[in-house]
């Protein structure tokens, strides 16, 4: 995926925070429980930020290496794009 691509959620996809802080991605007929790093990445998805913006935010917030952040975000987004949970503008 290109760093300048701008991810947005597919139709009928909603991110939800539980009172205990866990995050879920609600999709047609299902709910995916997210781990904290996936939740952090997906909370930055708004149709405006680019993949590169999201990686930069995560690097700052979690003090992780840029390579690691890029590869984590890449594999998460790839999986979600395949199931049409995410698409790129």
């Amino acid at each position: 995926m290109k760093p300048e691509a701008r991810p947005t959620f597919g139709k009928g996809v909603r991110l939800r925070r539980e009172p205990d802080g866990t995050a879920m991605l609600l999709v047609p007929e299902g709910a995916l429980v997210l781990n904290p790093s996936a939740a952090a990445a997906l909370e930055l998805v708004d149709g405006h930020r680019t993949v590169a913006d999201i990686v930069t935010c995560l690097v700052r917030a979690f003090e992780i290496g840029e390579e690691d952040a890029r590869s984590d975000v890449g594999s998460l987004f790839d999986r979600l794009v395949e199931r049409q949970t995410l698409r790129f503008l």
Binding site: E29, E82, Q84
Partner: protein, 354 residues
């Protein structure tokens, strides 16, 4: 007390009224006692109580849920309660104005069933001429900002058109398709011999679905519900009794599974008499088959017991008269011969749902 998980999903059967007469309808054959439908206010309370219990998704079904004039108001309330909302409908009453109201109310997902991909067969199965208007509805909704799934219930009469059903969805630009082999409850159980697919249809169908999934990867999600009469192990019905799902019928009866009224040995409580939370946690019906302690052999010592959950309680009851028996769909069930016998296709007339 048995451990009750948090329910994630609530099926709201808003009405059993329907303008179609599909012979595989999962509604109870005896519909008279469901005519006293919950009011708008009562449904709102049910949704609030469900959200407090931890439910995240509400599915609005029937019967035909769009026959309820207060549907958009109920959907809006679900949204206010933080619930994801899904409408399961035959679709023809969703004109642009109705769609505007529902989408403004926050509806997330619409599922529309077609009876077959070709008009003649579809209308014959539905018992009325609706197919052309369903296609119009699918086109109209595909252009809107809402998730859309095309559903088709598969049985002997339409199984051979499975590839055409996928092609229809592709032509309409629909990104999600749900192809479900008929489950034998309600009217479908009455029509089981006439609806039962052949082994050849089941095998061909699986191959068609696998090939289509590969070809349409990233463009279309195909959900396929296998024919459990032809498998080795039963379906893990509802992912365990009283574990993740709740159903509320039109008159407020609360069920662990939409087909559960088939089990005559259980009595089910009503949201008009007790809160959803009390019913979920304490009712005898919800606790009857929760977890694994109720199981007899071969389930009790089976390594699949927390995967299959003994299969389907309703099917066990319908076929053996004992809801605590192993689902006969399992090859390890002492009653498995009942399923094997039922695989034989029989030429019986279809009885339309009334």
């Amino acid at each position: 007390m048995l451990e009750s998980h948090r329910p994630l999903s609530l099926l709201c059967e808003l009405t059993y009224r329907c303008n179609l007469a599909c012979p595989y309808c999962s509604n109870p054959v005896e519909l008279a006692r469901y005519r006293d439908e919950l009011t708008t206010t009562e449904w709102k309370r049910v949704l609030d109580e469900a959200a407090a219990l931890g439910v995240v998704q509400a599915h609005f079904s029937g019967g035909e849920p769009t026959l309820r004039r207060d549907l958009a108001e109920i959907v809006a309330h679900a949204r206010r309660a933080g619930l994801y909302s899904n409408l399961i409908t035959q679709g023809t009453f969703l004109d642009d104005k109705r769609l505007d109201h529902l989408l403004a109310a926050g509806l997330d997902h619409i599922q529309i069933s077609v009876q077959a991909p070709t008009e003649e067969l579809a209308d014959e199965i539905a018992g009325t001429n609706v197919h052309a208007r369903k296609i119009e509805a699918l086109e109209r909704i595909a252009a809107r900002d809402v998730a859309l799934t095309l559903n088709c219930v598969l049985h002997r009469r339409n199984h051979d058109q499975l590839a055409e059903t996928i092609a229809l969805a592709e032509r309409l630009g629909i990104a999600r398709v749900e192809l479900a082999n008929v489950q034998f409850y309600g009217w479908a159980f009455r029509n089981r011999a006439a609806l039962m697919p052949t082994r050849e249809q089941v095998l061909t169908g699986s191959a068609i679905v696998s090939a289509a999934r590969e070809r349409l990867r990233g463009r279309m999600e195909i959900v396929y519900v296998a024919a459990d009469h032809f498998g080795e192990f039963p379906k893990p019905c509802m992912n365990g009794w009283g574990r993740e799902f709740l159903t509320v019928t039109p008159n407020g009866t609360v069920l662990p599974c939409p087909a559960a009224t088939a089990i005559r040995t259980l009595s089910f409580e009503n949201v008009r008499e007790r809160s959803l939370s009390e019913i979920w946690t304490d009712s005898a019906a919800f606790n009857a088959y929760r977890g694994t302690a109720w199981m007899a052999e071969p389930c009790r010592s089976c390594e699949r017991r927390e995967r299959d959950w003994g299969g389907c309680r309703c099917q066990a009851f319908l076929l053996t008269g004992d809801a605590a028996a192993t689902d006969p769909a399992c090859r390890l069930s002492p009653d498995h011969a009942l399923i094997v016998e039922a695989r034989e296709p029989k030429d019986e007339p279809l009885v339309a749902r009334r």
